[in-house]
Symmetry: C2
Subunit: 227 residues, 2 copies
Amino acid sequence: LINLSGIHKSYPMGSVTVHALKDVNLAVNKGDFLVVSGPSGSGKSTLMNIIGLLDTPDSGSYHLDGRNVGDLSDDERSRVRNRTIGFIFQNFNLLPRTSALRNVILPLSYRSMKDSERLERAQLALEKVGLARRMNHLPSQLSGGEQQRVAVARALASNPSVVLADEPTGNLDTKTGQEIVELLVRLSQEGQTVIMVTHDPRLLGYADRIVGMLDGEISEEPQTGDR
Amino acid sequence: LINLSGIHKSYPMGSVTVHALKDVNLAVNKGDFLVVSGPSGSGKSTLMNIIGLLDTPDSGSYHLDGRNVGDLSDDERSRVRNRTIGFIFQNFNLLPRTSALRNVILPLSYRSMKDSERLERAQLALEKVGLARRMNHLPSQLSGGEQQRVAVARALASNPSVVLADEPTGNLDTKTGQEIVELLVRLSQEGQTVIMVTHDPRLLGYADRIVGMLDGEISEEPQTGDR
Ligand SMILES: Nc1ncnc2c1ncn2[C@@H]1O[C@H](COP(=O)(O)OP(=O)(O)OP(=O)(O)O)[C@@H](O)[C@H]1O
Ligand SMILES: Nc1ncnc2c1ncn2[C@@H]1O[C@H](COP(=O)(O)OP(=O)(O)OP(=O)(O)O)[C@@H](O)[C@H]1O
Ligand SMILES: [Mg+2]
Ligand SMILES: [Mg+2]
């Protein structure tokens, strides 16, 4: 489903260049639950942004469902992204002046469905992450972990075929974090493809596969065996 | 050093009121390393904001170094805060249009010292958190964990007598996170008072004392014994 080949990404900073991704190759099958792990600054979010069609590599190719993403126009990329991908951002990226509920409804506005269905789906998604009683709060009226859960709900409400979760539990206590990851596991069991970046070693056990990153390179691809 | 008594904090939200803190009592001695733990939404950041003089309780009293903080004017509170407290925010709160280095220098501008000394302290603080090669990056040019570490460096550069760390390792891998917490432990060994909110059970062992929060209340105060 996802095929990255020879991916490079650099940021020239005056006299120094930061090589965020160096010759990255990665193949992900439909329904996989892949965990990406690695030190701070090793390139995980950069990788996720490329997979999520939010950023383009300097070189190399990215095939999504057989199509070479590099061939798409900006409009086509946006459309594929909105239809296919649900992104849980490391820094949440919530709209500050609108409620949790409206933040979750927003990506659904790209899909054709009744307003009442959008509302219902958004409410259900927020209930699933334990925020039934926080729907009308603005992000500034939510705790850090509640904001993170709004970001999770927003990514899941559109039922995307690919879920990209960048550190989805960094601000959550153990129990709440586990509930979120178990949500993601269920999605992959139902056929959605999930890629989760995490620093929490306790979450590695949920993965079908674990990929390590170090200094911009994929450093290992051990199998975790059956779940 | 820090004495909270009968602290209440609520947020009226139309027909519903969120009771974020209910009758909180807490005494912290100089040089303590206190860890505050608890589920998402239990009131930890609200508590930290009150201790950090960023917010005021609805009722109850807060004595800091013997002075009743409620008696201070806004200007006096700001001055006490800038002189005494270093705050590591859960959401970092970095200035987006200025470099990591300038973000760390900023709180030092409240202290009287030469510009060259401010620069030197800021550089040292950034080196201590492993960001020597990221000093000129803007926050948007940093990874999540790097932004978190700039927030840590900024709080520590002014050598404050009270360090309030709200989830300082949520975006860090195990090794980098441990380095940050060991930094905080050293500060407390040198006489600074440290209060750290964390969801990571592996960090509880660093504490002199652990306080649990649940639904706005302090729910336990077990001693962890000697370090
Ligand atoms: N726009 C940019 N300009 C310059 N350097 C950048 C930019 N974005 C990222 N970087 C650098 O690229 C490296 C990889 O960043 P990335 O965000 O992918 O790391 P990460 O693995 O997600 O880290 P973390 O675990 O801390 O979130 C970092 O060292 C960062 O400083
Ligand atoms: N300005 C506000 N208006 C309304 N409710 C608020 C406001 N700020 C916080 N709350 C609510 O108060 C409760 C406590 O918030 P707080 O940020 O202290 O939690 P926390 O323990 O730090 O959680 P986390 O671990 O998720 O960061 C949360 O349920 C939150 O929704
Ligand atoms: Mg990242
Ligand atoms: Mg908090």
